[in-house]
Symmetry: C2
Subunit: 163 residues, 2 copies
């Protein structure tokens, strides 16, 4: 058991398994947001010159596994992903990413979470901060997808529903 | 020092002080997003029947301190907040909330983070999950503010910039 009674700010509050659940819960919601878009709007609709939700979803997919690989190995692979042309193929890629995250996450060496590294040659921060960044970036852009759906007249899936 | 070498999922990865910094970093960005809106658009503009960004900001303010009070005491006060009529007053309320968060956070009893409670009579989850919910809800709706700003022709502050 970790000691929780040290100096207030150094109390540990979230475990590795809880952070994984948090991420996958958000990813499950993002999957439902992708699925809520009509095929054509997913790949073509946007507001104010922003990216389509398909492009945003590809960004989430493109960050997930490479970030875990970097967290695990200290090497930061960066291979551009070819975006699929249909919603079905995008969801298939989403689901294989989900499995890969579940497979890789438990292999992150425990001490790595608090180590600082330079991810992809440009982002210098502790690994836990980098993982939060990846999660937060998805929440941020998914919120934009909610506006796209509302503007198109569709009810988005509830934000709090992340089984 | 907590032991980080127990079973993989139970490794503790984020401290209390790091979670506070994460929240206040996001809140600093949200403050800049509020400030990026012209006064009139802050209180009147929205897309697709959604709330104005002033109303969303009031939701963030309304959740912050009451959630901390509940985390600390197990009592969940819920008093409706009167929304201010000007951007200057909204930012003033934002800043006093920032100070109150910094004051209250270190008084959360360490064991509370992993305790389950029912917040405001309706949300049953561990306290750490509730705190993440409050942060995530702000990221989610702030992302919607980015779309409002883009649609209005304004460049939002960069998402990654959270000093």
């Amino acid at each position: 058991m970790p000691s929780a009674k040290t100096e207030s700010g150094s109390v540990h509050v979230i475990t590795s398994g809880q952070l994984l659940d948090q991420w996958q819960g958000h990813r499950g919601l993002t999957r439902r947001v992708i699925d809520a878009f009509p095929e054509n709007d997913l790949f073509n609709y946007s507001i104010g010159g922003m990216r389509t939700f398909a492009k945003l979803a590809m960004e989430f997919i493109g960050m997930a596994v490479p970030t875990l690989q970097g967290a695990i190995t200290g090497e930061w692979p960066s291979a551009p992903l070819e975006p699929p042309g249909t919603k079905a193929d995008l969801l298939k890629l989403w689901d294989s990413t989900t499995e890969e995250i579940d497979r890789l996450w438990p292999t992150i060496p425990p001490e790595r979470f608090q180590e600082t590294d330079t991810a992809f040659g440009q982002f210098t921060m502790p690994i836990y901060g980098l993982l939060l960044y990846v999660i937060d970036n998805e929440i941020h852009h998914r919120g934009q997808g909610y506006v796209y759906l509302r503007a198109l007249g569709f009810e988005p899936p509830p934000f709090y529903d992340r089984p």
